[in-house]
């Protein structure tokens, strides 16, 4: 982890509410894992840095990409950053996903911008000939991101939206049940929704499916010293507090306490 000034290659709007940012990553020597994140200084007018997951890692051309939802002060200003300018990013931070060698088929469950976090994992899975099945949930079809990119990677994509009335928890439960029946899914990964995480947690526990979640929490330092971003982990009968930025943001879904 280090602060870097990286040159912006592109920063473009990709849908109504989402933007895509590509940076020249040549100065970064650390290897970056899917699930890890960078804490980005979005603008002078946004005091704190903002955490963003790594969306794509392009090892050959030495670039990294982020996908972000335009939400408030920080991300609104981030859209103003222009190609050629430099952005100060701090990372890579936290622990990424674990993709075990023995897993041949995995399930990804993402809501909204949660796909930004799972996309890098899909990329790694594809590179390792692991079959990926993705359930993407969003408010509208316009908000469904990266489906083409995922399909190009060979991911089997299922889309559910409020717009189509297909995204309620019961419908998603049915869909996942069917996917579990039809495929030998050996692990599941999720990001982006408390509701869907709770659902997946319940289902994973029931069928003893290994599962990982990338959590989001408001951060201060993002390097483990301030204890702003904490969550609880339950192991056996013991509940203890961990830092999302340091011990996470990826946790064992079967152990994390979802509030």
């Amino acid at each position: 982890m280090k602060p870097y000034d990286l040159k912006i290659i592109s920063n473009v709007r990709v849908s109504e509410r989402y933007w895509h940012l590509k940076l020249d990553a040549r100065p970064i020597a650390d290897s970056i894992r899917p699930g890890q994140f960078f804490n980005i200084k979005c603008a002078d007018l946004a005091f704190l840095r903002r955490p963003f997951s790594i969306y794509r890692i392009n090892k050959e051309e030495k670039t990294i990409e982020f996908l972000y939802l335009v939400k408030g002060n920080g991300t609104v200003h981030l859209t103003e950053a222009a190609p050629g300018e430099y952005l100060n990013i701090f990372g890579p931070l936290g622990n990424g996903f674990e993709l075990k060698k023995e897993w041949n088929t995995v399930l990804l469950l993402a809501r909204g911008v949660g796909i930004a976090t799972l996309a890098a994992l899909a990329q790694e899975a594809a590179a390792n000939q692991v079959t990926c099945i993705a359930v993407l949930s969003a408010r509208t079809n316009n908000d469904l991101l990266s489906t083409e990119m995922l399909e190009r990677l060979g991911v089997e994509v299922y889309k559910v939206t409020e717009e189509d009335g297909t995204s309620d928890v019961e419908a998603v439960e049915k869909l996942i049940e069917n996917l579990l029946k039809a495929n030998r899914i050996q692990a599941a990964f999720t990001c982006g929704s408390k509701r869907l995480s709770k659902l997946l947690q319940r289902m994973a526990k029931m069928v003893h499916l290994p599962a990982q979640i990338a959590l989001e929490e408001h951060m201060g330092c993002a390097m483990g010293v301030c204890y702003a971003c904490v969550c609880d982990i339950q192991e056996n009968d013991d509940t203890h507090s961990v830092r999302v930025c340091r011990e996470g943001p990826v946790f064992d879904l079967n152990k994390v306490v979802l509030k």
């Binding site: 982890m1 602060p3 005091f47 002060n73 201060g220 330092c221 390097m223 010293v225 904490v230």
Partner: protein, 311 residues
């Protein structure tokens, strides 16, 4: 720049330079980022006697020119601290100041006694901004008699230099500073965070899980500069300025109004290498302005004879 004299004294404690981290904004997790041997002191996060879970999330939020936090002194307790945290710092030759927080006057003394047995601990900072649970819950540092008591009881059980970290949430910072001096404090830290609150106007919910929190960052610097100035007027004790230092310029400003050293907190969240960057800037400033000894700056604010401040 090697001829520059950056060393400062905080009571009997010699610091090789006046720049140190603020408690709660520093940890050994930063050792791959910055060289701890170049810090004036190492100041780990405040600890409590018993393990404490901390407050509800969100524990931080952004405001104009700063942030509000309410972490709630999440701590694994003093035993864990002695066994697991302190050893991380053994390989550095930088003095370590332990920050302690307690629920009662007696507990402050008990903790000081336990911590004092550790040879690696060069000084103790009393976080008297925490509430007195045996009293009415008011922070020790909001009451002169209580502040005096805490410092006195701690001094009775330890020979280590004691720094009282004042809360700025008081009517007269001078009164509390004097009470701590009378209690035997070796130095004063001015100061902790200002009590604050922020509300999300769309959800109508407080932005901090604990509703109230403490504001830190550049927004509070002028208030802290004012308080250092006021405290310097009534005491000769060493003062550590703390609050809103982002750059070396802020350090010079605090020294000019009477601080002997400074702590850097929130700045490290924005610029993770703020501590060494500030020290480098300070050295350049000294060289450029013919300041050979950093102590030459202390209290040298130029107030004209006909300028009278009314407070």
């Amino acid at each position: 720049m090697d001829h520059l004299q950056l060393g400062v004294k905080i009571g009997h404690l010699y610091l090789k330079n006046p720049i140190m981290p603020a408690s709660g904004a520093f940890g050994f997790e930063m050792e791959t980022l910055i060289d701890f041997n170049n810090l004036g002191a190492i100041v780990p996060k405040s600890i409590t006697k018993h393990p404490r879970g901390g407050n509800a999330t969100p524990r931080v939020c952004e405001v104009n020119g700063g942030m509000i936090n309410s972490i709630g002194i999440q701590s694994k307790g003093v035993d864990y601290y002695v066994k697991e945290i302190l050893p991380h710092y053994e390989r550095y030759d930088t003095p370590l100041i332990s920050s302690i927080s307690a629920d009662s006057v007696e507990e402050f003394a008990e903790m000081a006694e336990i911590i004092s047995r550790e040879s690696i601990v060069s000084g103790i900072e009393l976080n008297i901004s925490c509430p007195n649970l045996k009293g009415n819950g008011k922070a020790f540092g909001m009451d002169a008699a209580l502040s005096y008591n805490v410092v006195k009881k701690v001094k009775d059980v330890t020979d280590k230099p004691i720094i009282a970290k004042l809360t700025p949430n008081v009517t007269s910072i001078q009164e509390i500073a004097l009470a701590c001096e009378k209690g035997g404090a070796d130095a004063l830290n001015v100061a902790n965070t200002f009590l604050a609150m922020a509300v999300d106007i769309y959800t109508r919910e407080p932005k901090i899980g604990n509703v109230l929190g403490g504001i830190s960052g550049p927004a509070i610097k002028p208030l802290i500069v004012r308080m250092i100035y006021q405290v310097r007027k009534v005491t000769n004790l060493p003062i550590i300025g703390c609050g809103g230092v982002m750059t070396w310029e802020d350090v010079v400003e605090m020294l000019l109004v009477g601080a002997n050293a400074v702590q850097v907190g929130t700045a490290s969240f924005i610029n993770p290498t703020a501590l060494p960057d500030i020290l480098e800037g300070l050295k350049e400033y000294m060289t450029a302005n013919g300041v050979k000894d950093i102590n030459e700056l202390v209290g040298k604010v130029n107030i004209k004879h006909n300028q009278v401040e009314s407070i």
